[in-house]
Amino acid sequence: MKQVFGRTESLKDTAFHYCPGCGHSIIHRLVAETIDELNIKEKVIGVPPAGCAVLAYNYFDIDMGEAPHGRGAAVATGLKRSLPDRVVFTYQGDGDIAAIGTAETIHAANRGEKITAIFVNNGVYGMTGGQMAPTTIVGQISTTTPGGRNPDRDGIPIDLSEMLALANGSVYIERTSVDSPKNIIKTKKAIKKAFQVQMAGLGFSLVEILSPCPTNLKMSPVQASEWVSSTMTTQFPLKVIKDEAGNLGAAPPSE
């Protein structure tokens, strides 16, 4: 019988702890598939965040080193400068990368560190129970914005990816989503390209992935995905924000 689907090499045989409908499981899978396809399982080092994906090392079957909350880009900088021929990526949530780790991220991008950031944006602090994130959209209810995010009091959501695109050392930045099969395929391509940009030694790459959090949005998985499609993308439009990778974009797909 022809095998049409199987376990990725770069994931352990461990069930995800993520909530039903959470985007992390899909994104883990996409990152792992990319590692397999690029044949870098034995030369990749991942940096998990503080947040829901803090236990990412329980799932990825690759070397991983834990960073303090938000410091992923700095830890990845140390790893990469020490081992320039390895592939180093951070896996960070919106609070981790766009609030507490903003400085580390912007400066790593500006230095053109040859690292890749997988930025999972679900618009909420998930692990701590649904507080306002830097990316919580205006009017969105969270445990710390009970009446909805109020721009006068709370500011407006931060467009970190657009900010990072201004940095001279960033090469490839794309915002995608895992709200539909079509967008999941696009996300996979973006992740792959981000890793290729690093492997070509071009500079900093980042994929921001909009991801549903049904638990903290207090929605069903289907509703949460629909909310990402209909509402979240109005604040965070899906697009290639920066691409200075040149010919790399034309690299032959391995599928």
Partner: protein
């Protein structure tokens, strides 16, 4: 070589095989950062990054340390406070690192004058959680070179962050120094726990998150047992004119140099006074102090703060001997004459025996 203290540390670090330095400007330790910028640029495999913050610098050290290579950062008091998050993670993940604190007056921004107000922060861990760091307190230019070498050796041997605790005066003072032969980093033994891509072996994790309380307890006890071993193996002191001493001063770093000047003065007057100088502040050299207390009734702790090492001296002696204290915080540098007067006062008040 005649070098200022800051440069001695930098030179000794590179000779110890350190090829990674991450720093952020802060006075009075910029000379070290600048020395590393030049030094690393001259080494084919040297890496220097002026980080965007102390937080970033210590976390870059964390990243390099995960790969098993020798890395260092340095700062002064306020910047060291910022590094404490990373130091706690280094301690938890049992990663080697060398951190230089060129102390200045505090708290807060304080001033840029030499002080010793960070003793408790350094010797009690400094960041969150139940951990310790090795703390070395050089007293001369030569010792800056020797203890910097040792700092890297201890960090690797015990998988622990090591703090070199100096101050602005030690950083600026120029003294002749003989350096040990340089170590080729490639000659250092490979570490079996590093992250370098799981080539031909199972994947590894370096982490500090331990949600299971029993496992967390065991990790804490594991660290504790390691600290006990370090406490047995590395305490180091200098004894200066203590053989016949009736009164023994305890001081480290710059304060110990002032203390020596004072002791020379009172010795001329026939007072039997010596100095016990800890070179390791953590582990505190309790055994050496207890040994001395069998014979000596009076101790005088002299620090450039309001009394921090004083706590370790009292804890070690457990009330068995008289412990006096003299300190000047805020970046004030006492003179040997000033300390000589303090010694005189205590000496005669306690009726200690002097030479005829």
């Amino acid at each position: 070589m005649l070098l200022r203290g800051s440069h001695v540390i930098g030179e000794a670090a590179m000779r110890a095989g350190c090829r990674f330095y991450f720093g952020y400007p802060i006075t009075p330790q910029n000379e070290l950062t600048e020395y590393m910028a030049n030094g690393m640029a001259a080494l084919p495999d040297g890496v220097f990054i002026q980080a965007e913050s102390e937080l970033a610098a210590i976390n870059m050290v964390l990243g390099v340390s995960m790969t098993g290579k020798r890395a260092m950062t340095s700062s002064s008091s306020p910047g060291i406070s910022l590094k404490q998050e990373g130091i706690s993670f280094l301690a938890a993940q049992e990663l080697p690192a060398v951190i230089v604190n060129t102390m200045r007056g505090g708290p807060g921004l304080g001033n840029i004058a030499p002080a010793q107000g960070d003793y408790l922060q350094a010797t009690r861990g400094g960041g969150h959680g139940d951990y310790r760091t090795i703390v070395l307190a050089p007293g001369t230019g030569q010792e800056l070179a020797e203890l910097t070498r040792k700092a890297f050796e201890y960090a690797d041997r015990y998988r622990i962050p090591v703090i070199i605790l100096g101050d602005g005066m030690m950083g600026q003072m120029m003294e002749p120094v003989e350096f040990p032969e340089p170590i080729d980093p490639a000659s250092l033994p490979l570490k079996p726990w590093v992250l370098d891509g799981a080539k031909g072996r199972p994947s590894r994790i370096l982490k500090s998150l331990i949600l299971d309380t029993s496992a967390m307890e065991e990790h804490n006890w594991k660290l504790y047992r390691k600290y006990q071993i370090i406490g047995d193996e590395i305490p180091e002191v200098e004894r200066f004119l203590t053989d016949d001493a009736q009164l023994v001063l305890l001081a480290y770093g710059t304060a110990s140099r002032i203390a020596k000047g004072a002791i020379k003065r009172v010795r001329e007057m026939g007072l039997k006074v010596g100095l016990l100088r800890p070179k390791t502040l953590w582990p505190f050299p309790k055994k050496s102090l207890l040994e001395m207390s069998r014979r000596v009734s009076d101790f005088l702790v002299f620090e450039m703060n309001t009394g921090q090492m004083l706590e370790d001296v009292k804890l070690s002696l457990e009330g068995r001997r008289r412990v006096h204290f003299y300190g000047r915080p805020g970046g004030i540098i006492s003179t040997p004459d000033e300390i000589a007067k303090v010694i005189n006062n205590i000496y005669f008040k306690e009726g200690l025996e002097s030479e005829e």
